[in-house]
């Protein structure tokens, strides 16, 4: 993989990046378009090189745990998706890869899934990054539909499009949540429940940088907008402040590192926000430097944890003798983190300070304090475990095996050598990468002469040392900031609580209320539509009624009332039967002998069946019916609606062509004088086939209910 990435570097630096393109869902702008430009390859190199180290380290670290294989699998899956994020040219593909990193990160954080903390951390991480993912989805669609272009490399700068502000906000949400910026910064410390090599890889070196990368990619497109610089600088400053407080409160090695990672990401966001070419240069260098020192430091923390099963800085000490190579790695990485020459970290820090100076005095002060905090973290992580006085844990410590040592040592050495060999680094990596971001490269150098920022860094180092030695005092004095996690939980619980009460009201378990709601809504819809729209076509309320119709109607009404008010079974059944006879009468009056005959038979059989079913049951005397207003209203509403519908139906607008045709052709084409029967068995025989199917199913259903076809037993066990 590394070799492949390096082989792509050459054409990319000459300005003709290799690309790959095939269609996926072209209708939705989704092509698999990969474009190996220099910036992408620069990050891809970090991903693959560190990744290679991590794989070696992980297999040893996890030992013979049965889950190791699956973790390596998920890590590979993650690496592929991360490469997709950095190399994708199509913005939809970028989104796809982005989401895949979220999934793999979720599973990897939860590797120790029997630990509730790991589960909670994984869940928070996923939900927060999902907010970002969904924002990115919206942003991508907006971007694509606004410009009609789906490739990053072809997107024009947009500052006067009406959607640009929404796009910007959505992109910010995506980037800030992924890169753990304020107000989303709380998920990253929670994600530290992952096995340490995974934290080193995903949550310091690669995945959390996706937000930064996204912002860097969007810089040429959106940075002209007035909100770009203030938003990014302010948000990142807020994150820095939170980080500084958090660092002073942390005692866990990994937590310290995690908070400082948030700080480092904030620096990068801030630099992109400043947006000058110098700042972007600084960001690029710092990105590399950070990956080269933070990942080894995490791995060191992992090795210590592996050796003594403890990561608390108040319990560690005296490991320098037992774990010499680990200590060397820690020192190398730590020096780079503190920003001391000759490491790459030094060069990066100098550039950051200079970029900050060009923006605003308050910002530079803030950055200085942050750098101070970094120094302190580095001291804590490197010095306490190695040379601390607390030695009782150290007795059983042992050096890590080579497969763990070599990767971390090598990665930290990159930081050293690239610091020493700045000019080839600049020529082959940094400069092309910066050019592909659309800005001019700046000459790199370890030594810039005696400048104000050199003084600032000296100050920071001194202050950091001071803070380190007085850390117990600070620990007690510093107030606890309201945790973002807490707020996150409160919001989620509020929304879930709302959902719960809403569901309890709507889905309350009472069939009566379900029926009532359905009927009321239906009637309201119909009556509203009738009143609103149809004033001119409303039929008259007065209709001619024959005596026979009237008597059939009265019979139906009387017997339905009798059914409702009957207090014993037999009278109720009898009343029901007489209602059916009323219907039969109606059919006779309307000259439909066939329907009348069928209705008549059905009614008789129904009554007989009901009597058969009920005759052996003890006679039942119901409570006298109480009239409930609510139900009365519903009934009245139903009656009114049905009346309206019937009245509307009385006049025909568009003829009865079909019924007339049926009447004319029953004998001629259907060979039958009984029109109804010809319709049933010929013209619309499919309906009849359906109806006898319904009847057959009803018979099966009765068999099931009565027990003769009941499922005997689900499982014989």
């Amino acid at each position: 993989m590394v070799g492949l990435v390096i082989s792509l570097l050459e054409p990319a630096s000459k300005g003709s990046p290799q690309s790959l393109n095939f269609e996926w869902i072209p209708q939705l702008g989704l092509h698999v378009t990969l474009r190996a430009d220099s910036f992408g390859l620069f990050i891809a190199l970090i991903i693959t090189v560190i990744g290679a180290g991590i794989f070696s380290y992980t297999s040893e670290y996890m030992g013979d745990d049965s889950g190791t294989g699956s973790i390596i699998g998920w890590l590979l899956f993650f690496m592929a998706s991360m490469l997709g994020v950095v190399l994708a040219d199509n913005i939809v593909l970028l989104f796809v890869s982005w989401e895949l990193t979220s999934i793999s990160s979720y599973i990897l954080i939860g590797s120790n899934h029997r630990d509730p903390e790991a589960r909670a951390g994984a869940k928070t991480a996923l939900l927060v990054t999902a907010i970002g993912g969904l924002s990115l989805l919206a942003a991508v669609v907006l971007l694509g539909l606004a410009t009609g272009v789906w490739n990053l490399s072809e997107l024009p700068p947009m500052h006067d499009h009406p959607w640009v502000l929404s796009i910007f906000i959505l992109i910010c949400l995506a980037a800030f949540s992924k890169s753990a910026q304020w107000p989303f910064c709380f998920w990253l410390p929670g994600a530290m429940a992952a096995p340490t090599p995974i934290s080193a890889y995903l949550h310091s070196a690669t995945m959390v940088k996706a937000g930064v990368i996204l912002l860097a990619r969007m810089h040429p497109i959106l940075s002209e907008h007035a909100a770009w610089t203030p938003t990014l600088v302010l948000i990142s400053s807020a994150s820095m402040i939170v980080v500084i407080f958090a660092i002073l409160k942390a005692t866990d090695l990994k937590a310290l590192l995690a908070h400082s990672t948030v700080g480092a990401l904030a620096l990068m966001v801030c630099l992109i926000g400043i947006g000058t070419s110098y700042a972007l240069n600084a960001m690029t260098v710092f990105l590399l430097a950070h990956a080269c020192y933070k990942a080894p430091l995490f791995l060191v923390a992992g090795s210590i944890d592996h050796a003594v099963h403890n990561r608390n800085i108040n319990a560690l000490g005296g490991l320098a003798n037992k774990m010499p190579y680990t200590t060397i790695t820690a020192c190398l990485a730590g020096i780079s983190m503190m920003g001391l020459p000759p490491m790459l970290g030094f060069a990066a820090k100098e550039m950051i300070l200079e970029a900050g100076l060009s923006y605003a005095p308050w910002l530079i002060a803030l950055i200085t304090v942050l750098v101070t905090a970094f120094v302190m973290v580095a001291c804590c992580v490197v010095l306490i475990p190695a040379f601390g006085k607390n030695q009782f844990l150290a007795k059983k410590a042992h050096e890590s095996p080579w497969s763990m040592l070599v990767p971390m040592l090598l990665i930290s050495l990159i930081g050293l050598f690239s610091g020493l060999g700045l000019s080839p680094l600049e020529r082959y990596l940094i400069a092309p990468a910066v050019i592909s971001l659309g800005v001019k490269p700046t000459a790199l150098g370890l030594w810039h002469g005696f400048t104000p920022h050199l003084a600032l860094s000296a100050l920071a180092i001194l202050a950091g040392w001071l803070a380190y030695s007085k850390r117990h005092v600070l620990y007690k004095r510093i107030p606890i900031l309201p945790s973002g996690l807490l707020i996150h939980d409160i919001i989620w619980n509020a929304v879930l609580g709302f959902g719960r009460s809403l569901t309890r009201i709507i889905q309350n378990g009472s069939l009566t209320s379900y029926l009532g709601t359905t009927i009321i809504v239906t009637c309201a819809l119909i009556l509203y539509a009738w009143v609103q729209v149809d004033a001119p076509t409303r039929p008259s309320l007065v209709q001619k009624i024959t005596l026979a119709e009237l008597s059939a109607g009265l019979l139906i009404m009387a017997s339905s009332l009798a059914t409702a008010f009957a207090r014993q079974r037999l009278p109720a059944i009898a009343a029901l039967g007489s209602m059916g006879m009323g219907m039969t009468l109606f059919f006779i009056v309307s000259q439909a002998p066939d329907l009348a005959l069928t209705q008549f038979l059905v009614e008789i059989l129904a009554v007989v069946l009901l009597v058969v079913a009920f005759r052996h049951l003890p006679d039942f005397v119901g409570e006298p019916i109480k009239i409930q207003t609510g139900r009365l209203v519903i009934s009245a509403l139903t009656g009114l609606t049905m009346m309206v519908l019937t009245l509307v139906a009385l006049s025909t607008d568009y003829g009865q062509r079909v019924s007339l045709w049926h009447g004319l052709n029953a004998l001629k084409q259907g060979h039958g004088a009984n029109v109804v029967n010809v319709i049933l068995v010929d013209f619309r025989a499919l309906d009849t086939l359906g109806e006898i199917t319904v009847l057959s199913i009803a018979a099966l259903g009765v068999g099931v209910l009565m027990g003769s076809l009941k499922q005997t037993k689900k499982e014989a066990t």
Binding site: L502, L511, L645
Partner: protein, 500 residues
């Protein structure tokens, strides 16, 4: 090709009848059932390839010219629905047949015939061009689903089934009232013919009465589809029947309702007969209320049931926007949902068989005990939550696209919000069933493992992946289906042979 259109209706009917005749010979009945569903599935493939080729297939039943007889017609939407019905039916039957612990007589002899009757009703609903025939098909489905629901005869099932059947009978009554009104006003039951007349009525400014009938249909189909504020029956009943039955219901019942809504809105009452706004508001409320309901549940199948509602909302939003692309995404969503949701029900069944409960506080430990099942769950669950590159991603992405294209920002926001909460529920199940330890440390989770049943669930998971990866060509088909729906002229021409 009249045969091809009639087979999806006739074949299940024959399988069901033979199933009744062989009810006392378990092995024979199973073979009949399996043979029937396999043939059905093959016909589904043939049908869609024919429709892709020719645009529309029609047949006039009994040779009676439309609108006097009953017309069967397959456009792309119908063919897609038949195919997916076949896929889920096939997998569900395979699931119920492929159990290594199957004892003779485990299932009621009525199970297989009822499933085929249900398939018959669904096919009829998809293929018919006649609205009264649609009513008959609804009745077939209602009866068979009711019987399937009560198959085990537990009290909980009967309670759920009673709510189900009462609310659905109410909707049938409403449907019938609408049919009467429509027949009186328009004098026809043929949907293409109604379409012509309702457009005519709009032009004559006499659309009022027909609109009333349309509203009655809207209510009926909304009840069937499980839309707000008519979905009560669904969460009340879906978690009670046996697992394959739940999966089948989730795949077929509500989808037929949505299908009918699509026909109503695009064919029967096109134009401004029904308000787009009304549908849009109903869709969005359905989406949100469903997802809220799901988030508040602690029972696997109840969670999944509420998600059915929420996803119906997505589909209806696509329908309400009614551009070819929005309709295509709605159709894509239906297909995706049938597969992914059905599979989640089946996976939930396998998991709860092992852990012994469906209540989340009594589950756990499955990731260690049965990682293959865990992976299959992850595929389906992340697909449902709309993660790439799975089927749900294409569906969600295209819906969001459609809302942006129509500048319906609030709808887009609701869709995104719903996506987040869907994810929340999916990982809630994941954490509680798979990741956390089983509350009873002595329970041996491998005992309930039924490895043969991994075959159908893996099949469905593969289909989910395939739908996502082959999204391009599949979405093309959906787009063509969407274009057919937006302009019903060709449909009407195919049914009536001419336009008045």
């Amino acid at each position: 090709m009249s045969v091809l259109l009639i087979l999806p209706i006739l074949l299940p009917l024959i399988s069901a009848s033979l199933g009744i005749l062989t009810r006392q010979h378990v092995v024979a009945q199973r073979w009949v059932s399996l043979l029937g569903i396999t043939t059905y599935l093959i016909i589904g493939f043939v049908l869609i390839s024919q429709v892709l080729d020719q645009g529309y297939l029609t047949t006039q039943v009994g040779g009676w010219q439309a609108p006097y007889g009953i017309t069967l017609i397959a456009d792309l939407l119908a063919a897609i629905m038949i195919l997916f019905t076949g896929l889920i039916g096939f997998s569900v039957l395979l699931y119920s047949l492929m159990s290594s612990k199957h004892k003779q007589g485990d299932f009621s002899p009525a199970f297989h015939p009822l499933v085929h009757f249900l398939l018959m009703g669904a096919s009829g609903a998809f293929l018919t061009g006649d609205i009264f025939n649609l009513y008959v098909c609804f009745e077939i489905m209602l009866m068979s689903s009711f019987a399937l629901m009560t198959l085990e005869g537990r009290a909980e099932q009967t309670e759920g089934a009673v709510k189900y059947v009462v609310l659905n009978l109410l909707s049938s009554a409403i449907f019938l009232a609408g049919l009467g009104l429509l027949y009186a006003k328009a004098g026809t039951l043929n949907m293409a013919d109604i379409s012509v007349i309702s457009q005519q009525a709009v032009a004559d400014d006499k659309a009022g009465p027909i609109r009333l009938a349309g509203l009655l249909f809207l209510v009926t189909f909304s009840v069937k589809a499980g839309m707000f504020p008519f979905f009560f029956w669904l969460p009340a009943s879906y978690h009670t029947p046996s697992v394959p039955v739940s999966a089948l219901f989730s795949g077929i019942l509500t989808k037929v309702g949505v299908y009918a809504l699509i026909r109503l809105h695009t064919l029967i009452m096109p134009g401004e007969v029904l308000g787009h706004k009304l549908l849009l508001i109903l869709g969005v409320s359905t989406m949100l209320i469903g997802v809220f309901g799901a988030a508040s549940q602690m029972h696997i199948r109840r969670i999944l049931s509420f998600h059915i509602i929420s996803q119906i909302g997505y589909i209806v939003v696509g329908l309400a926007i009614k551009t070819p692309l929005a309709l295509a995404s709605a159709i894509f969503f239906i297909g995706h949902n049938i597969i992914a949701k059905g599979n989640l029900f089946l996976v939930a069944g396998l998991a709860s068989d092992s852990v012994g409960s469906e209540k989340l506080h009594k589950t756990g430990g499955m990731w260690k005990a049965w990682p293959q099942l865990g992976l299959i769950y992850l595929v389906s669950a992340f697909s449902l939550a709309g993660f790439p590159p799975l089927s749900g991603f294409v569906a969600k992405f295209s819906i969001v696209w459609a809302t942006v294209e129509s500048k319906l920002w609030w709808v887009m926001a609701a869709a995104i919000f719903t996506g987040l909460f869907t994810l929340y529920s999916m990982i809630k199940i994941w954490v509680e069933v798979f990741w956390k330890d089983h509350p009873d440390p002595n329970r041996d989770l491998t005992v309930g493992k039924d490895s043969k049943r991994l075959v159908p669930v893996s099949l469905l998971a593969l289909i989910t992946v395939f739908i996502g990866l082959a999204g391009g060509p599949l979405f093309d088909i959906c787009l063509r289906a969407g274009e057919q729906l937006v302009d019903p002229t060709d449909y009407i021409l195919a049914v009536l042979g001419k336009i008045k």
